[in-house]
């Protein structure tokens, strides 16, 4: 599994995004070029306003209408094999930061997961609910109590697991987690991170992990890209980024974010299979 | 002011302002253009519109000049609409501020009274009040204010509740300002803007209520009103429908003008607030 595919899943060339209003423009992107390989785990780190979330949204095709995008995002596997663009939900799973806001407050959890399966896997509602049950077990939630529950009846961690189940419902090739654990408290955060790690390994999905937490990135990713003010200032193997950062920004970022408690993590080899 | 230019940049807002200016011109020039009593006989009865130069909109059942009545009716509509709206905003702001600032039992009682006023159909209450007090301009204005103050009261209370805990109110308490002085000199002015945002809806509602009261014969009998004209025309609806239709069109334009201008102001100020 650590043998990341040689094939390129997404090829981003000279990607720039700008917003019309001044206030949002700090989250813009300037000339990003980057490949995400099949099955690899790539972390994007940066401060808030570095454009890392905009990057994630751009790849998923979720930029707001006011955003202007130039450059290209190509999916080599798609254009050759299927002659079509990847579809959100089916080919790209997206997990958002705030699990309370990313689930419809008045629709039962089971239905929100089942509707993804119904949409992309062409299942009937009963089949889709059966699929949702399996997915909930995979994210270690009890299907019997979670399927009929509404978001407000769940804890933050439970909601994020349910949102992950919905994101992987149709078996995407790429899972994007945009600050997916930063709204959770530390213990729950660790659980959700290892859940994501396990799911990615089991399904062979590529993972784009967007975070401001360099320790988390170091634990999860094979490669790390560092964003600053809309530009990618550094990209490399996790170990290289952590131990011998070339860019001053990465250095200050590392020193600012790594406390004594997370230091031991950095000593571990990145990218190897660790679970099990 | 970017607000003014934004207001003028919207076609709806311009249309609304033009209508309101025309209306104001009608109301102000009524006495100059038609100095004689609009209720006096001016020509043959039931003259259709566009037949006679001096009576361009024809005459009613009693031979009164419809155009003169229309101009004088604009006066009544505008006067009653503005006076009733001002009265209901004032009552609403007063009750809401008192309830929100006093809190406790006082708040509870005032809000139940507000509930009671919202439970009784406003138009029925206005009807009852005018029928008991006798049809006069003051009675009509009071009746409409009685049926329309609850909305402003609720909004004023909600505003006051949020302002009450702010620092400058606490410091006013510390320097020993009288509670009533704090409530009405420090809090009320800051609670007013959202209450005033309701004014277009209230003015429009007041104009429509006045028309309905006059239509039922409860307007001031010594004044020409559009509602009264419609009621007059109703008796000859089969032979001369224009007598009901003309003042009705004037009413529709007036209310529409108020709404459009109100929406324009709301949008212009909302955008300005959003930017700052």
């Amino acid at each position: 599994m650590s043998a990341s595919g040689q094939e390129v899943l997404v090829s981003i060339r000279d990607l720039s995004v700008s917003y019309s209003s001044e206030a949002d423009n700090e989250a813009a992107l300037k000339g990003i070029s980057l490949d995400i390989r099949d099955g690899e785990r790539l972390a994007i780190i940066g401060e808030s306003g570095s454009g890392k979330s905009t990057f994630a949204l751009a790849i998923a095709g979720l930029l707001p209408g006011a955003a202007k995008m130039t450059g290209s995002i190509e999916w080599p596997g798609f254009s050759t094999k299927l002659g079509q663009k990847p579809l959100g939900g089916r080919d790209i799973g997206f997990v958002f930061q705030d699990p309370s806001a990313s689930l419809d407050p008045v629709m039962p959890i089971g239905r929100q997961i089942a509707e993804v399966a119904k949409t992309h896997l062409f299942m009937s509602w009963p089949q889709a609910y059966g699929h949702a049950e399996k997915l909930l077990k995979r994210v270690r939630l009890d299907p019997a109590s979670i399927i009929p529950a509404y978001p407000h009846q769940l804890s933050g961690g439970q909601k994020q697991r349910a949102a992950i189940a919905a994101a992987i419902a149709a078996g995407p090739n790429l899972l994007i987690a945009d600050e997916a654990t930063s709204a959770l408290d530390t213990i729950v955060q660790a659980e959700v991170v290892s859940l994501i790690e396990q799911l990615v390994n089991e399904d062979g999905m590529a993972l784009l992990f967007v975070t401001h937490d360099i320790a988390l990135a170091a634990r999860l990713a094979e490669r790390i890209a560092v964003f600053q003010r809309g530009e990618m200032v550094e990209l490399g193997e996790t170990a290289n980024i952590i131990h011998s950062p070339r860019h001053a920004c990465t250095r200050t970022f590392r020193d600012a974010h790594i406390g004594l408690d997370t230091a031991p993590l950095l000593g571990r080899p990145a990218g190897g299979p660790r679970h099990g | 002011m970017s607000g003014v230019s934004r207001f003028l940049g919207k076609p709806e807002a311009i249309a609304g302002s033009i209508i309101l200016c025309a209306l104001l011109a009608m109301a102000l020039s009524a006495g100059l253009l038609f100095p004689s009593d609009p209720q006096a006989i001016a020509g043959p009865a039931l003259l259709p519109p566009f037949q006679h130069m001096s009576l361009p909109l024809g005459t009613d059942r009693l031979g009164r000049n419809v155009l003169a009545e229309l101009f004088h009716g604009a006066r009544a509509s505008l006067a009653v609409g503005l006076a009733a709206a001002a009265a209901s905003l004032a009552i609403g702001a007063f009750v809401g501020t008192l309830a929100g600032f006093a809190g406790g039992l006082m708040d509870e009682i005032l809000m139940r009274v507000t509930d009671a006023f919202q439970t009784v159909p406003g138009f029925l209450l206005a009807l009852a009040f005018v029928s008991i007090a006798g049809p006069s301009l003051t009675a009509v204005v009071t009746a409409i204010a009685l049926s329309a103050w609850t909305g402003p009261a609720r909004i004023a209370r909600a505003q006051v509740l949020s302002i009450r805990e702010r620092d400058y109110i606490a410091s006013a308490r510390v320097i020993g300002m009288h509670p009533l002085e704090i409530a009405f000199r420090e809090i009320l002015p800051n609670a007013l803007p959202p209450v005033l945002a309701l004014s277009s809806i209230i003015v429009a509602g007041a104009i429509l209520t006045e028309a309905a009261l006059s239509f039922l014969g409860l307007g001031d009998p010594n004044r020409v009103t559009w509602g009264g004209m419609i009621a007059e025309g109703r008796t000859v609806l089969r032979s001369a429908p224009f007598l009901s239709i003309i003042p009705g069109v004037a009413l529709v334009f007036t209310v529409l003008g108020v709404y459009l201008a109100g929406e324009g102001v709301a949008e212009a100020t909302a955008i300005r607030r959003g930017l700052s």
């Binding site: 939900g89 629709m107 993804v116 | 009784v120 406003g122 009852a128 609806l237």
Partner: protein, 328 residues
């Protein structure tokens, strides 16, 4: 069930307070009105000065205001609204005779305005800023500016006078022997214009609320999340955006019932529908204040009942209601 019943109990207590205030209010208006119940009785039955004095004493009208208020409440507690001057009959009987027509008119107008209004609101709100959206929102604003009674007159001129398709007024053909379905069809023909006149005004309100509500829901994160999951646009519009935006409209349904009862006064007068609203106008014309107060009290009770029903419906439609009272 417990969730809804706790809510209902709390609302019921509040409603009792509100009703008490309304009763005191109508009592004050009755006091302010020239003449009292004895004048009313004398006017309807005739009687000399001695009898009037005697009645005034017997009915306690020479007592203090507080005593009179107590006896007013006491009679109301027996569901006795007093005697109508204009009809020389118990007010309760007159009102109950007219109530069904008003309920039918209001119910149909509510169904029309809510159903069509929210449907058009979905059409407008499905694509905010589109041509359809702008057209519908300006059109609804124009509609909202139309006085209901005038719309009624215009409908009469067009459909009853010129085209002669529909009857000019009333609730059914007088002295008709129709029964069952034929009678229902006859009533429907009579009510079509008044229901349209009453319903169209509020249609604009629901349309605008639905549209504004949807615009707000579109900006929510969970809609972005649904888009990220690749849910079809049609399903996002109906199952997520419209579903969420519909909830405040249901609350509005209760608040709007009082307005609509007021609106039916004029509409019933225009179309000569023998309902509660027309009765109110008749009471005003006949200076029958006790009858008018009876109508106000009945309307208040009706509005309270409708609001309770709406609250119960809301509790079932919004899973978040009462969540703080101990769900899993």
């Amino acid at each position: 069930m417990t969730r809804a019943s706790t809510l209902l109990r709390r609302r019921l207590v509040g409603s009792i307070f509100v009703l008490a205030i309304v009763i005191v209010g109508t009592f004050l208006l009755l006091e302010a009105a020239p003449g009292d119940a004895v004048d009313a009785y004398a006017a309807s039955t005739g009687g000399d000065a001695g009898l009037i004095e005697l009645l005034r004493h017997r009915w306690g009208l020479d007592q203090s205001a507080l005593t009179r208020l107590a006896s007013y409440i006491w009679t109301l507690a027996h569901l006795d609204l007093g005697q109508s001057i204009a009809f020389s009959r118990p007010i309760r009987d007159v009102i109950f005779e007219r109530l069904p027509n008003t309920l039918l008119l209001m119910g149909s107008a509510t169904a029309l305005s809510f159903g069509l209004g929210s449907a058009l609101g979905i059409v407008a709100g499905a694509r905010p800023g589109s041509f359809r959206d702008r057209f519908l929102s300006i059109g609804s604003l124009a509609l909202y500016a139309v006085p209901g009674f005038w719309l009624g007159l215009v409908l009469i001129v067009v459909f009853a006078v010129d085209l002669r398709w529909l009857p000019i007024g009333g609730v059914e053909t007088i002295a008709s022997t129709d029964t069952g379905f034929a009678r229902a069809a006859d009533i429907a023909r009579h009510l079509l214009l008044p229901v349209t006149a009453l319903g169209f005004i509020y249609l604009a309100l629901y349309l605008r609320m639905m549209r504004a509500g949807m615009a707000e829901v579109w900006r929510m994160d969970f809609i972005l999340a649904a888009r990220a999951r690749g849910i079809t646009r049609r399903r996002i519009v109906f199952a997520h955006v419209a579903r969420n935006a519909l909830l405040p409209l249901i609350t509005m349904l209760g608040l709007q019932s009082a307005q609509m009862l007021g609106g039916s006064v004029v509409i019933e007068s225009v179309f000569s529908v023998p309902g509660l609203g027309r009765l109110a106008q008749e009471a005003v014309t006949a200076r029958d204040t006790p009858l008018l107060m009876g109508i106000i009290l009945t309307s208040a009770v009706l509005v309270i009942i409708i609001n309770l029903a709406v609250d119960i419906a809301y509790a079932f439609l919004d899973p978040r209601v009462g969540a703080s009272e101990g769900s899993p």
